[in-house]
Symmetry: C2
Subunit: 230 residues, 2 copies
């Protein structure tokens, strides 16, 4: 029998997940102060799990920790964005190459299935809504992650997760959202197709273009909103 002990969970871990989500989604605005008292009210937990969660987020730079003067949501700015994007492009194309070469049959299934799941969702919450649909965001991450997960590389997985979180913040915070749903859908379809056909060159090409297109829109929006100076 397989040793499928699932991880139980602690308050600290659940608060960590919610806090991470709230930073990434923009519910907690970039640069804002995170007072323990405020968060205690928001999440209805004691100091201990809160601080543990905040420190976890601080090592991945989603939150800044300043000894004796508390925590703050990391700020967003253009220079930061450019660093994240260029790192993502390099890391993800590299991972995709390894992934397609090493991926087995169950990996192909996961890719196909996660693409199907993503394809059925719509990007926005309601009709004229400005907010990205959280379910879509999750499926989007899941799909991209699956394409890259054919070769298991714990350290690259970690780095990818960190970059994805930072990158997502920009997508989620700009209003109106800088992304075109039809273009994205077609990009994802083409990416899934190339990956499943094991066409390394084509897949890498598509992914690179996907990242560049997306980041170009975001860059333009950031400049318009004057995110240029820290």
């Amino acid at each position: 029998m397989p040793d499928d002990r699932e991880e139980p969970s602690t308050l600290a871990s659940r608060v960590h997940a919610r806090l991470r989500e709230d930073v990434i989604s923009g519910a907690l605005p970039p640069g804002s102060k995170l007072t323990l008292e405020g968060l205690r009210g928001r999440y209805k937990v004691g100091m201990t799990p809160l601080r543990e969660a905040l420190y976890r987020l601080s090592t991945t730079l989603l939150v800044e920790a300043h000894d004796q003067r508390g925590f703050r949501v990391a700020a967003l700015n253009l220079a930061h964005f450019e660093q994240v994007v260029s790192a993502r492009e390099r890391l993800e194309t590299l991972m995709l190459e390894d992934s397609i070469r090493a991926g087995d049959a169950t990996w192909s299934l996961r890719v196909a299935e996660s693409h199907r799941a993503l394809d059925t969702l719509t990007m926005y919450e309601g009709q004229g809504s400005d907010m990205l649909n959280p379910a879509w965001r999750l499926a989007h991450h899941q799909f991209h992650y699956e394409t890259l997960s054919g070769s298991r590389h714990f350290i690259q997985d970690l780095f990818h997760a960190i970059l994805w979180d930072h990158s997502s913040r920009y997508r989620n915070i700009l209003r109106p959202p800088p992304l075109d749903e039809t273009v994205l859908k077609s990009d994802h379809a083409k990416l899934a197709e190339a990956v499943l056909a094991r066409d390394v060159e084509m897949a890498v090409l598509i992914l690179r273009r996907h990242i560049r297109h997306g980041s170009a829109s975001i860059r333009k929006a950031l400049k318009k909103e004057n995110f240029e100076n820290p």
Copy 2:
């Protein structure tokens, strides 16, 4: 007047630093259980700062956190090592290139100074000692970091720090130490020289060879000690 508010420090931060050092140096052996009670005795602090420190280390994978069943020093094995080394080679050569291109005069000074500092230290604690000299380890990290720090890239800095920590553990744990002091000294001298001469191609070549030589020795030692299976 410059805003030189130095960061104060908390128990949590100091314990974090000591715990990190003890994991990297091997004072806390790979795979060992970290009981709160045991650590409370070792570092003479309460639960709270301890847990905060442990969670910080867990997000960089130096420590494994398991909900409801505590913490454990991350294990070492050959597969893990290979992943760290290949990531380091790619990241560091890339950073070195950018760094030499972007570095200014004060950066050159920092490189020269950190190399001088490293060169005056000896690798081992005493005469026939097996233990790496902690001051040497620090200066070694400092020197390599300075060569890469000409272009400031917060995310690459973070990734480099993570990889360095993981990588160091292997150097520190194997007995007898797998590194030859004379070879290292000459590698570092040549690297410093090429970097200060702004010879990108040569510097990258030397760094790549430096990493490959070092990792080859460690790989051999790991195989001898049967670190092959997790």
